[in-house]
Symmetry: C2
Subunit: 395 residues, 2 copies
């Protein structure tokens, strides 16, 4: 194949479009930017010697997260997985329960369910949001569950379905109105996995603040990072207090005694990581602007390519555009691997969606509904370089 | 009571002795010292943008930990609790098993057992090491367990006792020869909780390297700190590989695919925290020297006080003297709270031993042997200010 022919393939066109937007490369999928007070705060933290379990940056990070998201309370933890584990526990998920989880998600969503001894129950996705398909879920619950003593019971397994965990994939808000209605109608707790959606809004309100609790991640590949970190958001003061207690080994306050009244976890975010987070939060508005601008540039570049579209934020939503995402037309799904190969070979890091949860060995036997849209999406989605630093003039 | 009378009480004498060694105070129980390359490495890490799940400091920290301890492999994780959880899982601890744990330990030891769905079974302590009393444990296992198909079964509960987790309290090595013999004789896996004993040696070999696996902690209150962090030590390459896999979400290596072959955990140590760890490891020999010198100074100061002794390293052991520890004579146990009150009031942070595990609500119903020595010790132990920085000329 000549260079000219390669350029005329879909893979060649996509690589060209990426190059047009981000330059010659190489370009990572997502790398952090440290252009603010990161060093200042890290140094201040180190100089204070309070680098660990207590310190002013943890308190400040929690307050500023609450302020930014509009949640009444934020509890900083060691990562998004830990946040989900505790949120599910506080939502009442216990051994033998089932929890509704999208099949199309990062593995942490399903793993956190198993940490409670519960079983993930996989649900299909909506092409408009890439999140849980609410209409399909309602039909499924109507035909497959029954209410017993105000609990939603899976007729096939006999187990209680205790909660649902919608995940805002790549930063695009799910259909929260419909999912909240389902949660209410079927007696399910709703915990939002907002790991990818810091800075994303549904009908003007920040994701992660609609359910009983929401969870954030500040892993190195996220919009802002603390190295490793996460948070639990909630508007319920008692849940916030309990989350803080459980994530700090459930130690009872006392001047010198070490007593613990529950099985607790060592899930607190170190002050050192919170210091980085405080500086990153200051940069967040600029990061979001850069990522939106990157979306616009990609949109212009991909508009002319037949057979692929760039995923845009759902109606009445603002996405953070954490990961820019291409969707191949159904009849071009077979070209996905060629696109991945060509773009990665050219130095542009791209990746497909995660393997669907029910395709992973540890979850093969878990209950699931028809997953045809998730399957179709997983064969056609491609994430492309998405760092805010790709729009250097905006950050 | 006049000032003169107060000084003649045991509490008054102890406060005076502490003041004699550490100066006017205030003095924390244990605070970190950052006198080396901490700034340099943190800045280098930040400038690299690799602050999170991958980066050269994590690899370097693991290599240097292995080198320092003499373990063949070290796997850095997010904290000591996570290290114990994974070590127990890899030791084969599963739901419904029992695991032998000292009653006198920090709650993480028992919590980690429950994370595997297993039940802690509490054992008594030895006054010479503050760790598991090996002779008493052997007698107890002989009379309370039987071997069935090469597994140790608790006759009372019918459950398999899968493992034992000796903990090197305050840095003092337990009687490993005897405990390893018991592990062999009764078919128990031995996992060392060496959270407190980095720099402590038993018969010339570093603690944490005797059992199937050992675990370390780098919490802010430990001899060296990464903010929050821990590690798994092992001489078994396959266990090390598996520990790394489980602590990094069990993701299979692939250029772009996201597939996971087991239920994994987000337990990796961020590169940012590892950067701090690398700098701290360079300081460790000096910290250990300072802590040993502090012990000598305390020993001189407490030698003249009747009714109290300073805990020294066991025979043929080198302790890191993580926390300096006083032991009141049995007939003076009732003065413990007065000592705690007087010393904390005077600005010297002191604390008693942890509440014993079986005294905590979540563990009240767990199986246990006679715990009379642990009970006696827990009423008489007092930790006193122990930071390396209290010997400023040595660090």
């Amino acid at each position: 194949m000549t260079a000219m022919q390669a350029q005329n393939t879909l893979a060649g066109q996509i690589v060209s479009a990426i190059r047009e937007v981000v330059g010659a490369g190489p370009a990572m999928l997502h790398e952090p930017s440290f252009n603010g007070n990161e060093w200042l705060y890290l140094k201040e933290c180190l100089d204070s010697t309070f680098v660990s379990s207590v310190g002013k940056f943890v308190d400040r990070f929690e307050l500023e997260l609450a302020e930014f998201t509009g949640a009444k309370h934020a509890v900083a933890v060691v990562n998004g997985t830990a946040a989900l584990h505790i949120a599910l526990k506080l939502a009442g998920v216990t051994a033998g329960d089932e929890v509704l989880v999208p099949a199309l998600t990062f593995v942490a969503t399903a793993n956190a369910v198993t940490y409670c001894g519960a079983i993930p129950h996989f649900v299909d996705s909506d092409v408009a949001t890439l999140g849980i398909d609410a209409a399909k879920l309602r039909d499924y619950l109507l035909s497959h569950t029954e209410q017993r003593a105000n609990q939603c019971v899976n007729r096939a397994s006999g187990r209680i379905i205790r909660a649902m965990v919608p995940m805002h994939a790549f930063g695009h808000p799910v259909n929260l109105d419909e999912l909240l209605a389902i949660a209410r109608d079927f007696n399910l707790a709703l915990v939002e996995d907002a790991a990818e959606s810091l800075g994303s809004y549904y009908h003007g309100r920040h994701t992660g603040t609609f359910g009983l609790m929401g969870t954030l991640s500040f892993n190195g590949n996220k919009t802002i990072t603390t190295g490793g970190g996460g948070a639990i958001l909630t508007n319920d003061v008692e849940l916030a207090r309990h989350a803080k207690h459980l994530t700090t080994t459930a130690k009872l306050p006392h001047r010198w005694e070490y007593r613990h009244d529950e099985i607790g976890y060592n899930y607190r975010l170190p002050n050192l990581n919170a210091a980085l987070g405080c500086a990153q939060l200051e940069q967040l508005p600029r990061m979001l602007a850069a990522k939106r601008e990157l979306f616009c540039r990609y949109q212009a570049a991909f508009m002319q390519i037949a057979g692929v579209k760039l995923i845009a934020e759902p109606d009445q939503c603002l996405s953070n555009y954490w990961l820019q995402t291409l969707l191949l037309d159904a009849e071009r799904a077979d070209q996905r691997d060629r696109v991945l190969q060509a773009s990665n070979d050219a130095g542009f890091m791209t990746r497909p969606a995660w393997a669907l949860m029910h395709q992973l060995a540890p979850f093969e036997e878990c209950p699931r509904m028809d997953l045809s849209m998730a399957l179709s999406l997983s064969r056609r989605l491609i994430n492309i370089p998405s760092s805010a630093s790709l729009v250097p003039d905006a950050i």
